[in-house]
Subunit: 245 residues, 7 copies
């Protein structure tokens, strides 16, 4: 333990003899310790969903781990959430600037690259620590639904469906087995519910599930109501009995 202690707490992220950046890997470990977040693409739109575990008296009007970036883009986060907020603020400002300069909605990839570039810089320059959060960006531009993942290393990749956070390996396996490109948005939303049940300790209720959709038609970010989530959850349990247990 002692050598590790000496190895990780430095003023700048450096390479280890085997060519690894430990601070980046530890930051990714922070993501792995976060609650699950998923993003699933369908032709009818994009669904992002997270697990939230509010205290009993917490006001749950405000989602803690789902954020709107712009009319047409949202984010689901896993890991150190205050860092997510910092990146979300950055993305909102970037998205607005883009709109003002080019007079059109910014591409989801453009935002993802912008955030990932910042993540990369925070692994190379002294005076900062890497971001401890991974983000699933979902959005629709020109009727084109898209999902992007950014992580603390500065990587960004587009997916049809992806999960991050606690149990994401198992959930991603599940998504890879069950996902197909012909899913309706409702199917995708049910699948997202199943994914969260798979990771969560809570296998019954729906109060710990939060979702947002960006429909291809409207191209607008919308939080999914609790009632709707309940319906998706019900479908999930019927369609994916194993996945949700």
């Amino acid at each position: 333990m002692l050598p590790a202690q000496q190895g990780y707490d430095r003023a700048i992220t450096v390479f280890s003899p085997d060519g690894r950046l430990y601070q980046v890997e530890y930051a990714i470990e922070t993501v792995r310790r976060g609650t699950i977040a998923v993003g699933i693409k369908s032709k009818e739109g994009v669904i992002i969903a997270v697990e939230e575990k509010p205290r009993k008296l917490q006001i749950t009007d405000i989602a803690q781990k789902i954020f709107q970036i712009d009319d047409h883009v949202g984010v689901a986060a896993a890991g150190y959430i205050p860092d997510a907020r910092s990146q979300v603020d950055n993305a909102r400002f970037f998205s607005q600037s883009n709109k003002m300069i080019y007079d059109e909605a910014v591409e989801v990839e453009t935002i993802a690259k912008h955030l990932a570039d910042q993540c990369q810089q925070f692994t190379q320059y002294a005076g900062v620590r890497p971001f401890g959060v991974a983000l699933i960006l979902g959005g629709v531009v020109n009727n084109n639904p898209q999902i992007y993942l950014t992580d603390p290393s500065g990587t960004y990749i587009s997916y049809d469906a992806i999960a991050i956070g606690s149990g994401s390996d198992q959930v991603t396996d599940f998504l890879e087995k069950t996902y197909n490109k012909e899913l309706s948005l409702d199917d995708a939303s049910a699948l997202a519910s199943a994914a969260i049940y798979l990771s969560s300790e809570d296998k019954e209720g729906t109060s710990h599930i939060r979702m947002a959709q960006i429909k291809t038609k409207s191209g607008l970010f919308e939080l999914v109501s609790d009632e709707q989530i309940a319906k998706y959850a019900k479908t999930a349990k019927e369609k994916y009995p194993h996945g949700t247990k």
Copy 2:
């Protein structure tokens, strides 16, 4: 003990191999070591309350752990109080600027996010330590009473009722069991008194209890008089005999 010693005293907050930010966790430990602070929401307004333990010859005219931010917003702090003062000054300036720019009272959430953003930055950039204090912001905007919690990690969350500081786990349990949304402001104030008795070593007097209310009607921050506190305390002992022992 030695590895820990080596791990925590660095010029910048960094990730540990298990993805934790120790400096942030230690700062939260500072909050836990502070005396109790509570915030409770009622339809009639918001109550914030703290325990203070003045020396015998201390002038108690000035509250040490309750601060007014603006006409309609106050703060109850737990942890390293000089840091609270620094954040309070920041919030006052921010609140005034907001009023000047938008010509309307600032939302409590807007202040909470502003302070939490600063907290987040102090966990990511070199040259500073994290704030060692958590704040309960209580306020009324447009007849809408609100309570927000900020902590050293940069998290901010809205609650119906919340406690921070020494014994806050036990107190929060107590609040979760006894709180309901139909409480009158007087009920809420009595409940806050009970919460402080639950945490405090002093189970009898009221000189160690300080409170402020922001009533929904007036929307104005007011310190609660010692006489009034005594009445709330009396009610607390009658209504929550177990909670106050």
Copy 3:
């Protein structure tokens, strides 16, 4: 001893696993190692007093641990005195600026907060060590005598009577037992003498006692003459025979 050695000597003040700021606690230890300083309020004014231990050939015209800030405010210091001088210069400048801007004498609390804010910053930002001194500010504004204490943590608190430095716990106990709000300024001055005798090794002479008064009537800072101190000391021995031994 070795772990402690590793823990305290860092370029920035950081939290320990139990949520403490060791550099601040060590700075407060510096105050505790200083000679005693006391401040006592009476309706007729404020008395501040310190013990000084001059070398035999030292010129004692100039007080080393009592400083005038403004016409109506003085300071008694305990701890690392060069740091006190730095804060006193700061306070003088601040006080003059205030007078120029608002055209009225600055409140003692305003100065105390200003100095405490600086103390707080020196515990949070890299590149500086905390101040190693506590100050008792005494002053009279609008016929209102006031005493404030600032310490290295950035805390400031108002007192009727307070002691800092070597033996201050014992002296504060003594003050709490003997103080009452109806003391005349002469009574308060005698009580201050007794407080110093209680802490000092010198239980007889008066050359090691230095005092200043700000009378409510005049509102002006005045050093107390050696003759007058001798009278107070005589009274002290008569009124508090136990306290002065």
Copy 4:
């Protein structure tokens, strides 16, 4: 292991007693851990190719390790890909600036030198870590196909054919045995496929191979279609049966 731990994690890259820059060597180790990338020159143009291992639901429209710099220049990267992106952005900006200043397409060598100079600076100045990536730049200027390699040390060298990343020693040996300057572009592309099979665990499919060509005639960067890659792969297996197993 402990001495090494102490040796590599420092705020600035420094010389070891045997005259080595460990941080640079560790960064080169990062390159060696990356998947294979190759560049091969033919009279008819330049081919760059990489292995990519997408997750099953990853959108593979966007190459992760091949980037276009300018109309006539592309890059294949091995190592820490977010660093590659940072250098690619730098190269794009540099290339555009050059075009604006000199009104002609920038030489590939000029870009290579520019990127290598940045790499060198990141090994000599404090506050940054070296880049963890090597780049194969391929381009055509004035009908002259060129390949350049840059690495974390700041070295840049021109090659007829070169491989970097996992198994690059074996692949370079293979290229040195099989390469000749009279290769057609199709031959070179088949050879690049063989090179990737040699390094990759996947000895059959073609979904893990990505290529781009800059033809001498057009002087334009073009991604190679999956169909075309399949043909090259087939040729590779026929012509280099040993190399692809």
Copy 5:
């Protein structure tokens, strides 16, 4: 020895657990290791004197440890002499600026405070080490002879007679026993000679004694001639036979 090693060599002066600033104490140890310097006040003026141990071929025209600050002020130094020179340059510039601004000779105390303030800052801010020198400032302003001592901690104190450097404790004892305020300047100069003999290994010669006087009448700094020093030394041996052995 090892813990101490770890404790003292840091980029900033910090508090130890017992509230001490080791770097300041070590700097004061540097003063203690320097040769003796004394300052003695008489009604007729001020005498400052030092021991210097020149190499045989050293040109002794220029005093190494006595410096003139202004027409009416001089300095005797003990400790790390290059630091003394830095402070002397500072004092000369400060003194000239004062004269230009206020059109009158600067008070000795004003210079002493200025230098001590700088010393204090060098104990609180990172990026510098404390000064390793103590200074005895002697001067005459308005027929008022004055002696001030500054030291690495940032303390400044006025004395009738004081010694710093090697053996200064013993010498100060000696001065306290023999000094009286009615001394003539010649008496004071003889006493200074005796003080230097007491500390020095050389109990016979006078070539190691250097002196300067500022007479009350003239108010002008003057180096004392070797002949005159010889006379003072002779008197010293007659008047203080024990002190000079």
Copy 6:
């Protein structure tokens, strides 16, 4: 090994107890690990030569370790070649600036001093590591052929003939035995070839030898063709049979 580890990897080059600058010595070790470079002066001009070991498919049009600075000056480098490039760029800029300011070709010594001054600064200031390269500057100014050596310590010295890099001690001995000032440029070039054979593992071929000449007559830097090198190598083997084995 452990103490050395602790000693060399620091943010600034510092003195060891025996008055050595280890970082500088380690940088010189980097030079010693580089391939051989030689410079030899003749009345007819200056020859600089290096060993290069290209990979089989490397394009050898561009010399890696010989650089042109100006029309009349070239450099042969040994050690960390990316650092050489950085100094060469500096020298080119410096040389052009000189020409513009003084309207005449810059002296070789002036460039050597300029580069050596930079080397010295990189051993004294924090935030950089020393240069890991030594340079042999050869040039002709006013019909005056000159050779200068710069090294990581910041030293620059003029030689008739000098070798740096791997085996340079043995080669310098050889040069000292065989060199005379009456050599023709062809003799000097043959001698340089012999010097490289002496150090190199390749005792036969000439593809690893690169040379440049600046002839006294023309005063122009010219790379030596492979054919010409082959002739020099042949002569070398005849004239210095022992030296080349």
Copy 7:
């Protein structure tokens, strides 16, 4: 050895518990490891001399350790010579500036103080290491020959004759025994030769001796020719047979 290792390699020069500045002492050790340098004053002028040990093929036209500062001032250096060059450049610039401002030749002492002040600063501020060189400045101003020594501590002292570098203690003893103020410049030069023989391993030749004279009459710096040095060396062996063996 290990504690010392920990003690000396720090980002800033700091005091040890016994009040010493180790980095300064180590820098002085660097001077002691350098070859001998001497300076001797005579009524007829000043002689400075050094030992140089050129490699066989080194061009010895340019002195490595004797530098001209101005028409009337030269320097002989011992220690880390690149640092000497840095200080010499500084001195040349300072000397020229002085001449331009005051329109007269600068005093040798003024230059010595300027360089020593820089040395002092490099022992007190972070981000630099002390200079590793001592300088003997010799010059003639207004027919007044002068010799000054500066060293890494920031001390400067005037001497009739002084030696620094390897064996300087023994040489200084020798100078103290043999020097007298009535020496002619030729006598002084012979004595300087003897001093170098005393320190050097080469007790016969003169090629390792370099000298410069500034004659009182001309007040101009002149390098001494090899022939003249040979004559001085011959005289030295006759007059000081013991000193030169």
